[in-house]
C-alpha cells in the first residue's frame, strides 16, 4: 500500500513514516487553527481583521500590541491603559495561588499517603466533593463571605480562593505520586539516622520533581484562564487579564478584534513558556507509575 506501507517497513517500530507524520501534522493544525487565527488577527489592522472573505495575506502591524498598553486620549496624547498591571496581577495571583495549592497539596498528600487517618478515604472523598459542583453554584455564599471578611478586591482573597480550588486536584494527584514511591526507601533513610523532615525533603520530594511539575502546570492552566470569580472578586487594582479582556470588548465601535487578539496572544505567552520549560517533567509526571520502574 503505497506510501504508508513503504514508510512502515523502513522505519519499523522506530519512527513513523512521512505518510503518518503528514496526517498527524494535518490533524494537529486543525486543533491549532483557532489559536493560529487569533495570533494572526493580532497582527492585522481593523480592516483586515473584519475582511470578508478572511484575509490570509496581509501586511502585519504591531499597532494592536501598542494599543494594549497605550491608548490615545481625545487630546491626542498617549495614556497607559493599566493592562500592564493586569498582566502583573494575572501572573502574581496565578503564581501565588498555584504555589500555595501545590505546597499545601503536597504536604497533605504525603500525610494521606504515609500517615493515613482513620477514615482516610472518606476525607479524600470529601476533598474531592469540593470539585463536584460547578463553581458557579457556590458563587453567592463565596461572594458574601468575601464581602463580610473584606477579602473582596484584595490579592490575598483571590489567591486564597484559587489555592482552594486547586487544592483538591493537587492533593489527589500528589497522593497518587506518593503512593507510587517505595516506602522502603524512606524506611532505609529512617534507619540511617534521617529524621522525618529529612525523609520528606531529602528523600521523597526529589523523587517527585516530575509529579510536582505536572501538578503545577495543570493547576496553573486552570487558574490562568479563570474568569468568573476574578470578575466578581477582584477590584480595579487586582483585576486579572481575562476580566480586563472582557471589559475591552465594549465600546462604541463594536468589538475591537485586533486589540482583543493582541491581548490574548500576549496572555498565551507566560503559560506557553512555563509549559515548554516543564514539558519533559510534564510527560514523565502524567505517565508516572503507568510503567513500573
Amino acid at each position: 500500500m503505497s506510501i504508508f506501507g513503504k514508510g512502515r517497513k523502513k522505519h519499523a517500530l522506530r519512527e513513523a513514516g512521512w505518510g503518518y507524520s503528514a496526517i498527524c501534522g494535518a490533524i494537529g493544525l486543525v486543533y491549532f487553527s483557532p489559536v493560529l487565527w487569533i495570533i494572526l488577527t493580532s497582527f492585522k489592522t481593523r480592516q483586515d481583521a473584519l475582511a470578508t472573505p478572511p484575509a490570509f495575506f496581509f501586511t502585519p502591524t504591531f499597532d494592536n500590541f501598542v494599543r494594549v498598553f497605550y491608548r490615545l486620549t481625545s487630546e491626542g496624547e498617549q495614556m497607559a491603559t493599566g493592562m500592564g498591571l493586569f498582566f502583573f496581577n494575572s501572573i502574581f495571583i496565578a503564581g501565588a495561588g498555584v504555589l500555595l495549592a501545590v505546597i499545601i497539596g503536597t504536604s497533605a498528600a504525603y500525610g494521606f499517603s504515609r500517615f493515613p487517618l482513620k477514615g482516610n478515604d472518606t476525607y479524600l472523598f470529601v476533598i474531592l466533593t469540593t470539585r463536584m459542583l460547578p463553581p458557579i453554584v457556590v458563587i453567592v455564599p463565596i461572594f458574601l463571605m468575601f464581602r463580610i471578611t473584606g477579602l473582596s478586591g484584595s490579592y490575598i482573597g483571590i489567591i486564597l480562593l484559587y489555592a482552594m480550588f486547586n487544592l483538591a486536584f493537587s492533593v489527589w494527584m500528589m497522593k497518587s505520586f506518593f503512593d507510587e514511591l517505595s516506602t522502603d526507601v524512606e524506611d532505609a533513610a529512617r534507619l540511617e539516622g534521617a529524621n522525618e523532615w529529612k525523609v520528606f525533603f531529602k528523600i521523597c520530594l526529589p523523587q517527585l520533581k516530575a509529579g510536582i511539575a505536572a501538578t503545577s502546570v495543570f493547576a496553573l492552566i486552570l487558574t490562568w484562564n479563570e474568569f468568573l470569580f476574578a470578575l466578581l472578586l477582584t477590584g480595579n487594582d487586582t483585576r486579572t487579564v481575562p476580566v480586563a479582556m472582557a471589559r475591552s470588548m465594549g465600546g462604541q465601535l463594536g468589538v475591537d478584534w485586533g486589540l482583543l487578539a493582541a491581548i490574548i496572544t500576549l496572555f498565551l505567552i507566560p503559560v506557553f513558556i512555563v509549559t515548554y520549560l516543564l514539558q519533559n517533567h510534564l510527560l514523565r509526571g502524567v505517565t508516572f507509575g503507568t510503567v513500573k520502574k
Binding site: A188, A189, L191, I203
Partner: protein, 362 residues
Amino acid sequence: MSTIRVENLTKRFDKLTAVNSVSMSIDEGEVLCLLGPSGCGKTTTLRMIAGLEAESDGDVYIGGQRVNQMSPSERDISMVFQFYALYPTLTVAENIGFPLRSEGLSKSEIDGRVDGVAKALQLHEVLNRTPGQLGEGEKQRVAVARAVVRDPNCFLFDEPLSRLDVTLRQTMRGEIKEILNGLSKATVIVTHDQLEALTMADRIAVMRQGAIEQIATPHDIFTKPANLFVAGFIGTPAMNLLSGQFMEYQDGLARFDICGQQVALDVDPAVGNQSPGSDVTVGIRPRAFELSSEPTEHGFTAEVDLIEPMGAETLLHTMAGGIDIRVVVNRSQKVAVGERVNIVSKTGQNVVFGKDERLIAS
C-alpha cells in the same frame, strides 16, 4: 555487645495475627536465617526488630537493652532491603555516605570510608552514577555497602538475594557470608530460599503462619526436622512423607505398614515406645534411597512413573500402592518408565512423626 533478643513478639493487623509470639536470640557474630514461605510473617518480624513496625506485644532487646520505645535510627541497625531501597536521586557515593552524613562525620572522613567500602565491593567505578544506571548486581552491592559502611549494633537483611539471577546469587551469597564473618555482629537474614538459609546461616528459624516451627542449626534442621511442616519444607526434592502404621520395634528396626507394603526401617529407638497399630508418618529423603536388584524388607517395590534428569543426578517418581515416592539416583543408573524397581532406604536417615505431626525422637 552486638546481640538481638526478641521475646513473645506479636503483630496483629485487625483480625489477622501476622506474627504470633515469636521468641529467639541471636548472639554476637551469629547469623540467623528466618526461613519460611511467603506471607509467614518473617519480614514483619524483621521490621519489628528494626522498629519500622510497631509490635502489638512482646519485647525487642538489642545489645541487651530493651528498644521497644526507640525509633529506628536510635536502634543503630543496618538493614538491606529486598528491593535495595537505594535513594534514586542520589549518586552511589551519596547513597553509601548517607548514614555517615547523618552521623555528622566530616566530609573527608566520609569520602575515605565510602572509598574503602566501594573498593572492597568493586563499586569504585560507578560511584558517580545514580541507582537507575546500575545493574541488579551493582544495586545489591551498593545496598550492602551502605549497610556495612558504618559500625551498627547489628545487621538485618530482607531477602537480600531474591532479585539476582542464579550465577550472581551464588557469588553474592559467598561475598555476603565473607563480609559478615569479618564483622562479628548479630545478623538476621530473611529468606524464602532454603539453599540461601542452609549455606549462610549459623542457625535457621523456620516460620509458618507467624510462628516459629523450629530453630536449629542447618544440620539439625535437615536431619531432625521438628515436625511435618519443617520436614516437607526443607530439602529439595522434598522429603517423602509416607503415612502408615507402626507395627513393632525389634533389634533397632521398626516395622511399618506403608503403601500397602511391610517395611523394616532403621529409626530412632523412641519410636519403639509407640503402641503397635498407631498412625505415624515416616519421612525418607529422596537421596536416602538406593536401588537394589533384589527386593528386601528395608524398602519398597515400586513402578517408575516419571523420570526427571537433574544433571549429576536423576529424580525418579515411583508409585507404590498409589503413593508417589521420590527417589534420587546417580545419573549413571539406567531406568525406564514403567519398570518395577526395588528402592531401599539407607540406614540412619529416616525420621518418624507421630499423629500430632511432631518428630518422635529420644
